[in-house]
């Protein structure tokens, strides 16, 4: 009962979508138009999962008297404060936008830009030419790096041309092969879910 109902729902969900896509009757009935709407509602209803989870995690830490109490308090205070602000003045509100642009945007951008440092140190340390294959990878990387900046253009027309060749021939071929394979892997996983072989999600 506690497993069978969810398992049945999974199978039915697969059938509804597949039926409405491939079969004329299914298209005519336009079931997915209704079910898509329902599904979006279930997603919207789950919006608080992240908030509740963070709340529990950090309240728990506070209760256990961890030395991170200051940060935990900041997190909870800022999160609920910002939600309250958004509910009062909507996402278009002046203060809400102020915080968004002055804090959230730079934090997010800067976090991502940190990766530039990591890539630099990793280039120095990790990218070793250990074999013929590794050498191929390094040479391709260097050609693309040079070919995609004006410096490469200025040095020699060879670099942009090499980059274009790598991108359009070698790289497209390799990724086409990987992606066809991965697409089939995805389809096979979907079949396994449908056939009830992949059922990890029913264990929770």
């Amino acid at each position: 009962m506690t497993r069978e109902i969810p398992a049945t729902i999974t199978v039915l969900a697969v059938l509804v979508v597949v039926f409405s896509r491939y079969f004329s009757v299914g298209t005519a009935l336009d079931l997915t138009r209704v079910t898509d709407h329902w599904l979006m509602l279930t997603y919207a209803a789950s919006v608080l999962v992240g908030v509740l989870n963070l709340t529990r995690l950090h309240l728990d830490r506070l209760r256990r008297g961890k030395d991170t109490w200051f940060y935990d308090l900041v997190l909870l205070g800022v999160m609920y404060g910002y939600i309250a602000l958004g509910l009062v003045e909507t996402n278009a509100g002046t203060t809400f936008r102020w915080v968004y642009n002055a804090v959230l945007v730079p934090l997010d951008s800067t976090m991502y830009s940190l990766l530039a440092f990591y890539i630099a140190s990793a280039s120095f340390r990790a990218f070793r030419v250990r074999s013929f294959e590794a050498a191929l990878m390094m040479v391709a990387a260097a050609l693309v790096m040079l070919g995609s900046v004006p410096l490469g253009d200025a040095l020699s027309p060879f670099f942009p041309a090499a980059r274009a060749w790598l991108m359009r021939v070698a790289q497209t071929a390799g990724f086409r092969g990987i992606q066809i394979g991965a697409g089939l892997g995805g389809l096979a996983t979907a079949f396994r879910i449908f056939l009830g072989i992949e059922r990890a999600h029913l264990r929770a």
Binding site: H37, L107, M138, A142
Partner: protein, 271 residues
């Protein structure tokens, strides 16, 4: 410790060309020209759909692209509808694309609309091909009824008739969602503004024509600015892009040389 020196070098390699630009020219690539020509080729009044599917983190790469394409479309008197699968993308659009439209004398609801964001990913897109108004809950980003926006009269659903071109500015999987659920089934042409990281993932689909054009990160934006004949912030970053790439190449070579010169026993055994 060694790492910190590398970090300092990297910052220097970026700051110097920003302060003392050399201004090496950016030559547009085929992938970028394709988008420019597509937009040039649309009859005035056609509807272009811009998908702002990125978070704040990708602003440096994707916003210059979106601004250039948006401005280009409005200058050519096309109608633009903005949508986002990311809650942040549509807000970024409201703060930075809307002002461009106003400065061009365009009117909200007549020349451009921002539909806002709905949770659900691909399902939202599928829904919009069936009934856009219902999927959007009948409102735009600010909660204005779609029925009050004249432009929306001609956009009841995403199909070939109403939409001339979709440009998806994406930092991840949304391009595949547009391809699978919208453009393959309906036949609307799809072009991408892509983060450089994802550029190669998308190339096989460019070859097959499933993506009509791809802008490649900040470089793509710089190329577009060149095509528009308006060098802007993407162009001004290109020198720093050159020097930083050169530094990475030097680091790779230097690292390998050190390794060969006896650093080997310091390294961990690899299998």
């Amino acid at each position: 410790m060694k790492n910190r020196w590398i970090y300092v070098l990297l910052v220097v390699a970026i700051i110097v060309p920003l302060a003392r630009p050399i201004g090496l020219p950016v030559n547009p690539t085929r992938e970028t020209e394709d988008l420019f020509e597509l937009i040039e080729g649309l009859p005035a009044g056609s509807l272009v759909y811009l998908a702002m599917d990125f978070d704040a983190g990708a602003i440096p790469e994707l916003l210059p692209q979106a601004e250039a394409v948006f401005a280009h479309a409005l200058l050519r008197d096309l109608k633009v509808v903005i949508h986002g699968l990311s809650d942040q993308g549509v807000l970024i659009a409201r703060d930075s694309l809307h002002p461009i439209a106003w400065s061009l004398g365009k009117e909200y609801g007549v020349d451009f609309v921002n539909l806002g964001f709905k949770p659900g990913g691909g399902i939202v897109l599928r829904g919009m091909t069936a009934d856009l108004w219902q999927t959007m809950g009948g409102v735009d980003i600010d909660g204005t009824r779609l029925s009050k926006l004249p432009m929306m009269e001609r956009l009841k659903r995403l199909d070939r008739k109403s939409v001339a071109l979709i440009v998806d500015f994406n930092s991840g999987g949304s391009a595949a969602a547009y391809r699978n659920y919208v453009t393959e089934p309906t036949g609307i042409p799809l072009a991408l503004g892509s983060c450089a990281v994802n550029f190669n993932v998308q190339m096989p689909f460019y070859r097959s024509g499933q993506y009509k054009a791809i802008l490649n990160g900040l470089r793509g934006a710089a190329e577009y600015e060149r095509l528009l004949n308006r060098p802007g912030k993407a162009t001004s970053a290109m020198d720093a892009q050159s020097t930083s790439h050169a530094l990475i190449i030097v680091l790779i070579i230097f690292g390998n040389v050190l390794h060969l010169l006896g650093g080997r026993r310091l390294g961990r055994e690899k299998r």
